[in-house]
């Protein structure tokens, strides 16, 4: 798997690689490290300015300021109910903030954004559409081709004509990932997307997400309660507590990440856990 990096992309678009072997154990290879300047920047900068959100009398987020640079993979960690899902829904434009401003790529978020995609905790595939029609759900021009390409990217090219009901949890989540990628979003939001998967599948999904993010270069916000997952994937980890940012820490580890085998990662995890 050590092809020269120049083979990997044609005019800035990642080249799709063939899926080796049976699909059940497919993670389409690991990312191949590149120099920073060779990585594509398709992401959009996300800015939160004095962001607050209250439900009835309960204040969930209070005056949050945060800049997420284009192309960064940010993980937000916190206990359940700390407002991390609320934050994600605000960035997606699903809910409106009580006060403050969100902007994506310089434009204020006032409603649902076409360049922001959200991956839910459950795959939320339409059971009455075949896999490929789920991926091409927006039915844009030539959706079949782009959907097939996105499916190949997540290693599920051969499941295009299956019903979602026959997929495993990990496969369904990969289809959902393909659906999010098909429109080449500037920002990808992930709301604990691997929480319901078993440990092995989750590790596969980590490697898949890391590679795809690395090749596409979109800005990513990953919500998780799993500190190990945050450290394994993110460039930067933020701990959300009592509606504010309790810790903002860069994770400067080489990619591809080695997961639990990395002792540096373990000490970072310990520091984050102190703050959660």
């Amino acid at each position: 798997m050590s092809e020269p990096a120049s083979h990997l992309r044609v005019r800035g678009r990642p080249l799709l690689r063939e899926v080796p072997g049976p699909t059940e154990r497919t993670v389409v290879s690991e990312l191949i490290p590149r120099k920073q300047e060779e990585r594509p920047v398709n992401g959009k900068t996300v800015l939160l300015d004095g962001l607050s959100k209250s439900f009835a009398s309960r204040r969930v987020l209070s005056r949050l300021n945060l800049e997420i640079p284009a192309g960064q993979l940010l993980a937000i960690v916190g206990r359940s109910g700390c407002g991390k899902s609320t934050l994600l829904r605000l960035i997606a434009g699903l809910d409106r903030p009580s006060s403050g401003v969100i902007s994506v790529g310089g434009a204020e978020v006032k409603s649902l954004q076409s360049n922001v995609r959200l991956l839910f905790q459950d795959a939320r595939l339409l059971p009455w559409h075949r896999v490929i029609s789920n991926v091409g759900i927006a039915r844009t021009k030539n959706w079949r081709d782009s959907a097939a390409a996105a499916l190949a990217d997540v290693g599920l090219a051969d499941r295009a004509n299956d019903w979602p009901a026959v997929l495993s949890g990990g496969q369904a989540q990969r289809v959902a990932l393909a659906r999010a990628l098909v429109s080449r979003p500037g920002v990808l939001l992930l709301d604990e997307p691997f929480g319901a998967l078993d440990a092995l599948t989750r590790m596969e999904m980590h490697r898949l997400l890391e590679r795809i993010w690395y090749e596409h270069g979109f800005t990513t916000v990953l919500i998780t309660h799993d500190v190990a997952e945050a450290v394994a994937l993110a460039d930067r980890v933020i701990v959300l507590r009592d509606g504010g940012i309790a810790l903002d820490m860069p994770i400067d580890l080489p990619r591809p990440r080695r997961g639990a085998a990395d002792t540096a990662a373990v000490s970072l995890q310990a520091r984050i856990l102190d703050e959660v």
Binding site: R117, F120, R124, L126, P127, W128, H129, I137, W163, A165
Partner: protein, 271 residues
């Protein structure tokens, strides 16, 4: 998927035999009872007599003519009543306003046995075609309304939220999320409607008619032709069964995505 289990032919044949053993056995006992004089031919004719009546009515054309007339009435009533019920169900499902205006009245009316208004219907329409079609329409409207409405209301809101995030407009949301999501429930409604459709028509045709299967049986009763009466009952059963089979085929096609409606290897829908 789609690994078709090679089901042994003998097992399939056995299942088929087992499901028909009871009705066939009853038929044999019935015939024996009639021939031995245990059952009076006046009260209940032997199956062989019914078969003879069947052949005779096919030969002189009365059976097919009457069955065609009954089917036409049934379908006209279903299309009008079921169509109205379906449309109202959809509108009430997607619009709060329509729900507020119609739902209370529909819930109230559905508990009125529609056959109770037969005297009124005869006053309004006489004993013409309209009366029968009107009754069938009233009867079939409610199951389709209720199940369509219920089907739309029980769609997973998370799917609707997902569709919004992925930029589906109102029309796309309806055609790709709401309608397919409500379809299993709508088809249940259709089945109920089909049952009520035949029931209503039998009653309506028996009370006032000059054609149709119901008329055929009532007419036969006047002449004590019990074999024709039994034949009429059997024809109703067969028409009902045919309607049910058609809905099953529709279900198997339209709900192929649904694990519970997957086709089994013999090609017939399970459940």
């Amino acid at each position: 998927m789609a690994t078709r289990l090679p089901q042994p032919r003998s097992a399939a044949a056995l299942t088929f035999l087992a499901s028909w053993a009871l009705p066939l056995g009853l038929l044999v006992i019935w015939e024996i009872a009639s021939r031995s004089g245990l059952l009076s031919m006046r009260l209940l004719p032997a199956p062989s007599a019914v078969a003879a009546a069947f052949l005779e009515s096919v030969r002189n054309g009365t059976l097919l003519t009457n069955a065609a007339i009954s089917t036409e009435r049934a379908l006209k009533g279903l299309i009008i009543g079921g169509g109205i019920g379906f449309a109202l169900g959809i509108l009430a499902g997607i619009s709060r306003l329509v729900e507020v205006v119609f739902d209370t009245s529909m819930q109230m009316l559905r508990n009125v046995p529609h056959l109770a208004i037969i005297p009124l219907v005869i006053l309004w329409f006489g004993i013409g075609e309209e009366a029968k079609i009107f009754l069938v329409a009233i009867g079939t409207a409610f199951p389709l309304y209720l199940n369509t409405f219920h089907g739309i209301r029980t769609i997973d809101v998370r799917l609707i939220e997902m569709a919004r995030v992925y930029g589906l407009g109102r029309l796309a949301l309806f055609w790709r999320v709401i309608l397919p999501g409500a379809l299993p429930s709508i088809l249940v409604g259709l089945r109920f409607s089909l049952g009520i459709m035949w029931l209503t028509l039998i009653v309506a045709e028996t009370i006032s008619s000059t054609s149709g299967i119901g008329y055929m049986t009532m007419n036969a009763r006047e002449f004590l032709q019990t074999d024709v009466v039994v034949l009429g009952v059997i024809v109703y059963a067969l028409l009902g069964k045919a309607a049910d089979t058609i809905t099953r085929l529709i279900e198997a096609r339209a709900l192929a995505w649904h694990p519970a409606y997957r086709m089994n290897p013999t090609g017939e829908a399970i459940s």
